[in-house]
Amino acid sequence: MFKEITCSINGKECTKVIDVRASLTDMLRNQYHLTSVKKGCEVGECGACTVLIDGEAYNSCIYLAVWAEGKSIWTLEGLMSPDGELSDIQQAFIDEAAIQCGFCTPGFVMTTVEILNQKKLYTRDELRKLLSGHLCRCTGYQNVLNAVEKVMKDRLNQ
């Protein structure tokens, strides 16, 4: 069974016909070629497929593509500025060496967008909890926390 789905992806209105059995990960990767959305565990445990839907972070692997109708979706690709510059979050991940193989990174970055949009100064323990929906087998998380903390403080001028 197929259905036409209209939603906003990275700020652009888009319509495509999709298979109703598709997950949002399937739709974003296969129909829109947004390959920052990684297929990791595919059961909502690793966070590699995290995207923002109406400003909240979701595991797109356990979100049906048909539910995207009328929603505003942001993926990592949408963070890049028109001249190709990286966002401050991505730059901080590079500066703090919060990346090794990179597979978990797009998910981490998208959750960081959701966290920093709250414009709150979180403690390191609070950040740990807010980032706990992501698995990274390389970095040991310390540098990821450092990167998120750095952008948070920079944005809040702390």
Partner: protein, 295 residues
Amino acid sequence: MYDIGNLYEATSIKNAIDLLCEHPKAHIIAGGSDVLVQMREGKLAGVDLVSIYKLDEMRGITITDDKSIRIGSLTSFSHITHNKIIEENLYVLGEAVDQVGGPQVRNIGTIGGNTCNGVTSADSASTLFALDAMIEITGKNGVRTIPISEFYISAGKVALEVGDVQTAIIIPHKSYDGYSGYYLKYAMRNAMDISTLGCSVNVKLSADKTIIEDARIAFGVAGPIPLRAKTAEKRVKSAPINEQTFDTFAESILEDINPRDSWRATKAFRCHIGKSIAKRALEKAIQRAGVETHV
């Protein structure tokens, strides 16, 4: 791609009921963090689904005319935790659902889905038992409301007939007015883990804060469905707030709980931590009511 037989998207609660009656074998999908995972594992492969996820009329938290708190079944865990009404009146529930899975799961997971699964480990369930929550079910013959203790029938089975949709969870005013609560989840990891044992306590103290006037204690994973520790409740009712009461309470727990051996933990271990977390949860709840204790 998911192995879904047919997907029927409900456009209203009434439409959902009609679809469920038309397709009696179909499963309801709310947030899907359990249904889709079970489908991926093959347990629900090929089944038909009726999606209610887009029914915004089933979202949100309100205070009703009789001062009860009504939580729409599709309200996500994160929306419950960050809701003003919950923060001010039912902090313990916001605290409990803030321990489900991880942040993304709390954005998609719904309190209705958590309870309709009928599993004993659901983080919301023990607290809802401790709050004497009422479950609102809408079916082809209209709306009915039953206590949560009647909603849970056996492991994985709840009181939903074909064509029924759980539409709200109601916390009566008398259940939360003057009470303070605490939820303690014991799990192997702090995030993305299922409770090994969970304990939720609600207490009401005397005006001079020296006596426990009323206590409601519920456990998750201490039996096939969430359960109330009625013996322990009786023993602490009207008891003074002191170490002896806490110890009596902790020991009494063993007369109420009946956990099993599973790959997650043994029965002996669950009984052991049961005493500790019950005592700690009781003390914490009393602290929240404004009394200094040792914990």
